[in-house]
Amino acid sequence: MAKRMTPAIARFKKKHAGKTIQVSTPGKEAWRRLRRNRTALLGLAIILLMLIAAIFAGWIAPYEYQQQIYADAYQTPNARHLFGTDNFGRDLFSRCVYGARYSLSLGLMCVIASFLTGGMLGVIAGYFGGRVDNLIMRFMDMFQAIPQVMLAISITAALGNGIPQMITAITVSTMPTISKNCRAAILNVKNADYVESSRAIGVGRWRMIFRHMIPNSVGVMVIFVVGLMGATINMMASLSYLGVGLNPPTPEWGLILSDGKGFFTAYPHMVLFPSLMILFTILAFNMLGDGLRDAFDPRLK
C-alpha cells in the first residue's frame, strides 16, 4: 500500500516545504462562527467591560465605595457624581463599579462550586447509571422540590449573612439543575461510537470521563456555564435585595438597590443605576450564551 509520489505531489511538497500546517480545531471553528454573531459579540463586549471595571475598580472609581460625603447626599447624576449619590452621600458610580467586582467574582465562584459539586455528581450519575444514577437523581429531586430562591433564603437564614454563606446557599440551590444538565450531556455522548471504541482499546474509567466524555460535551457545558453566570448574579442580587445575602456597606448591586428602594419616588436614580448594572450584565451573559450555543452547534439555527 505504499504510496508512490506523483510529480504533482512532489511539486506541491517542494512548494510547501517548511511551512507549518494550519490546524483547525473544533474550538477554533466555534470561535470563527461566534465572531460573526453581533449579538454575542455585544454581550462579550459588555462582559469584558464589566470585567475591566471589576479588576481596575480602584483606578476607575473616583471615590471609595464606603466613603460618605454628607455634603453631597441625595445628588442626582452630575459631573462630579456620574450616577448621583445616595442618602449617605456615597458616590453611586463608585459603588456600582466596585459592585462589578463582587458580582462577577462571586458569580464565578458560585458557578465553579456548583460545577464541582452538582456537575460532578451529574457526570457520575450519567456515567455509572443504574442504582447510582437513581440515588443521586432522587437526592437532587428532593432539593428541587423546594423553590430555588426559597431554598437559598432558608440556607442563608440558617448560616447567616456573608460571602461564604451566600456561595453555599447559591451552590446548593443551583446544584439540582446543574447536575441534571451535566447528566444529560454525559448520557448524550455515553453511547457514541468513539466512547465505545475507546472502551474497546481499554481506556480507563476516569480517563474516559475526563478525556473523552467531558471534552465532547464541553460545548453544552460552556453554554450552560455562561447561562448560569447570569442566573447566579441575578440570584445574588435578589438575596441581597431581600436582606439575606451580604451585609452593608458591601457595594453589591442587589444591596445598593435595596438601600435605594426607600427613596425610589423622590430619587429614582438610586434604584435605576444598580438595576441597569444587573440588567446589562445578565443580558450580556444571556446574549453570549445564545451565541455560544449557535457557534457550537450550527444545526440548531
Binding site: I21, D193, R211
Partner: protein, 340 residues
Amino acid sequence: MENQDILVVKNLKKYYPVRKFELGREKSFVKAVDDVSFTIRRGTTMGLVGESGCGKTTVGRTILRLHDVTAGQVLFDGQNLAKLSTRTLRKLRPQMQMIFQDPYSSLSPRMPVGEIIGEAVREHKIVPKSQYKSYIARVMRDCGLQPQYFHRYPHEFSGGQRQRICIARAVALNPRFIICDEPVSALDVSIQAQIINLMMDLQDQFGYTYLFISHDLSVVEHISDTIGVMYLGNIVEMGDKKSVFANPMHPYTRSLLSAVPVSDPDVKMNRIILSGEMPSPVNPPSGCKFRTRCPNVMKICAEKAPVFKEYEAGHSVACHLYPQDENETVNEPHENGQEK
C-alpha cells in the same frame, strides 16, 4: 502450548430486556443473539454475514464484552472472557481489537489523530516512552497515513482515511485478534478495495485473526477463509468459503448468494426473492426461525428447530431439508436453548 483456535464461542446468548411498565408481568427479551457457537483458527478470517438486525454486530460486541454476555462462553486463547473481571479484561484488551462501522462517529472529534492512535499505546505501555513518537509514526505509515498528520483532527480527513485511522488505532496495540464490524460499508467502492487490501496486507505481515462482520457477500468472499451466515440471532450455515459459495445448503444462504450482483450483463441472474420482513427477535417463530420466509418450508419446520449439523467436511447447516440426526438425545439441549 499453542492452541490452534484463537477464539471459541460456545452457545453465546445476548438478550436485551424490553422495558415494559407492567407490574408482575413476565419480562420479555429481544433475543439479539440466541445460541451462537463458532471457532476461529489462528491467522484466519471468518466472515459473518446476514441482513441488518440479525445480530451480527451484537455478536462482535459481546465477544469483546463491550456488552455483557447473557449466557455462554467466549474462550479467547482458553480464557473465558464472559467471566473475567473488568480489571483483568482491561489488561487483555490490547490483544483483541475492534474496527467500527462508521469511521465518522467512532473517532472522538476533539482529539488529534496522533493522540487517538497513541492513547491506548501509552495507557497499556506498549512501547517505552522514548520510542513512542517513532512507534506511532511507524504504525501510521503501515496503515497508509502520513505521519505528519499527527496533530490534525479527524474532521479534516476523508472517510477512507478515517477508517485508516481506526485501523491504526487497533493495530497500534499489537493485537492478535481484530473484530471488523462492517469496516467498509460506510465507504464507497473504490475506497473499500483499498481498505480491504490494507487489512489483508496487515494480516499477511502481522498474522492477525479477523472476525469480519459484513452484509456484503462479495467483500466477505474476498477476505474470508470461513463464513458464517446469521439469521435472527442464529448461525444457520457455516463452513469454508469455497464450500459455502460453491454449494450453499441453507435456503437463506442460497437466496443471499443469488442476490449478489454480477458484473456481466449477459449472465441471467436467478434470484431467489424472499418475501416479508424479518420477524421480531422478541417473539421469534417456533421451530426453525426462518420458516416464515423460507421458499422450501415444510410442516416439520414449525414444530422442531433444526439441528446444526456437519454435512460436508467443515460445512454445517441447520435445516430440515437435510437428514436430521436419528439420535434425538443429542438434539435435546439445542432445542431447549431455542425455546427458552
